[in-house]
Symmetry: C2
DNA sequence: CGATCAATTGATGGGCGTCAAGGACCGTGG
DNA sequence: CCACGGTCCTTGACGCCCATCAATTGATCG
């Protein structure tokens, strides 16, 4: 996302935020172009580094590529991941600038991130109703995902992991980053463990069990879902909560 | 909340929604009065009954008294509660009317509920910025609570329960329903079990342990927190995530 | 006073955490 | 080229937290 691209070139470049809001049916062409103007110079964050320790009140991180996560450390040092941010996701978009936050935003894989000017985005939303609706829709979807994770926490660990894989697959598909029901996540088992709140030793055994049941295929951090339908059934996964279109 | 009260009488009556938004510092006097006009005839829901099975697109349930919960049944029949609604809480305020929902809203104790006209509330928010901000603030707080519950799920069950008690206590305090660090919840152990995702047998043993450590006092559904500070310490509870004022 | 619901207690077992050690795959440097 | 250190994956042993099953008690109520 170079700053000196022309409008047409920008339009060619897949901007995952626009892609997502478009997919849900929010943006007019004018609004798409307006959003493009906000995505200027990006920075690259290495895996395992933090993207935002304490939230800046001036800018909003936008993930362009890679997988990031919202997490927190418990007093005993244990990390809990409460959300995965995929390309096109904004971090703490609507939180008041004064909301104190104890959350961290960490890069799990290498990430390209743009720091969007908060005020500029708010101004844009004030002028373009489609943008305003789309942004609120995005945070309401995040709320739905958190609720679904809470339900997920009451499932046994193997179904929990399957549910997470299904969610990530579907979300990646809507932004064009996964085809034919398979995706390369490149997440470590430690990361997965902290997301579904089990030990990394147990994650390892669970993945073997899913693999032995021909539900997934995995090696060296790559994970592929080879039987999405059976994994949905097994994991009690229903993509409805992701509200892939603004009316569903 | 009778429909025939005068404005002054309404102002005297504690409307928990207004009380809460006021506590956070959002409403002008005019806006308070405007909100009062929306709270007309209420209905009474008995404990264990559902307040809203499938969401009406026309009205938004507002809890006036009692404790309700958002929950879902897993395929095996297990119930998971993902949120407690206290007096002053609106249910699915900002969800698009077309958002399909698989959530249930159930009354855990006897509840007084008002069905607020959705369009009237939206109109009000459009004319009064304080109301609009306050309502969005409320759903952002709910998002924060869900995230905190996710972290809570990674704690051992006794700390998890303590954390829940602390949250309920603080939330009740802000609407004037709890004093001197104690409150009568009247929740059954089964309800608590479904909220922190443990069996009701185990809840029973956990409560005994908290009681033996002089952290709480409980009998017949009543729960009193007798040492809030120590319970906070034990449960890793920090009320900051509740954002009790709009700037904190 | 029986019926119903909530709280309680005991016994048993499994899911999963913890500790510990080994192996596979990097990248780097001698 | 191989030695190496680092990171991640893997496996086994052991034990605890907590689920499940089963049964009893106590409280409330028609």
């Amino acid at each position: 996302m170079a700053a000196n691209q022309s409008g047409d070139e920008r339009r060619m470049t897949a901007n995952p935020l626009i892609q997502r809001l478009n997919h849900a049916g929010f943006l007019s062409q004018v609004e798409q172009d307006a959003l493009h103007a906000l995505v200027l110079k990006s920075r690259c964050i290495q895996a395992r580094e933090d993207i935002a320790q304490s939230r800046s009140t001036q800018t909003i991180p936008l993930i362009l590529s890679g997988i990031a996560c919202r997490y927190k450390f418990r007093p005993d040092g244990q990390r809990r991941i409460v959300h995965f941010l995929l390309p096109g996701d904004l971090y703490d978009l609507h939180a008041s600038a004064h909301f104190a936050s104890h959350w961290h935003l960490g890069a799990l894989t290498r990430c390209q991130v743009v720091d969007v000017q908060r005020q500029a985005l708010l101004d844009l939303a004030a002028r373009h109703p489609g943008i305003a609706q789309g942004l609120w829709w995005a945070t309401l979807v995040e709320l739905e995902i958190e609720r679904e994770w809470l339900v997920n926490d009451s499932r046994p660990a193997d179904r929990r992991l399957g549910h997470l894989f299904c969610e990530l697959l579907v979300r990646l598909q809507t932004i064009g980053l996964a085809r034919d029901n398979s995706c390369d996540l490149r997440l470590t088992q430690v990361d997965l463990a902290d997301a579904i709140a089990v030990s990394f030793v147990h994650i390892n055994r669970i993945m073997q069990s899913l693999r032995n049941n021909n539900l997934i295929q995995c090696q060296r951090g790559y994970v592929k879902i080879i039987d999405y339908d059976r994994l949905c059934e097994f994991s009690e996964f229903d993509p409805a909560f992701l509200h892939l279109s603004k009316n569903a």
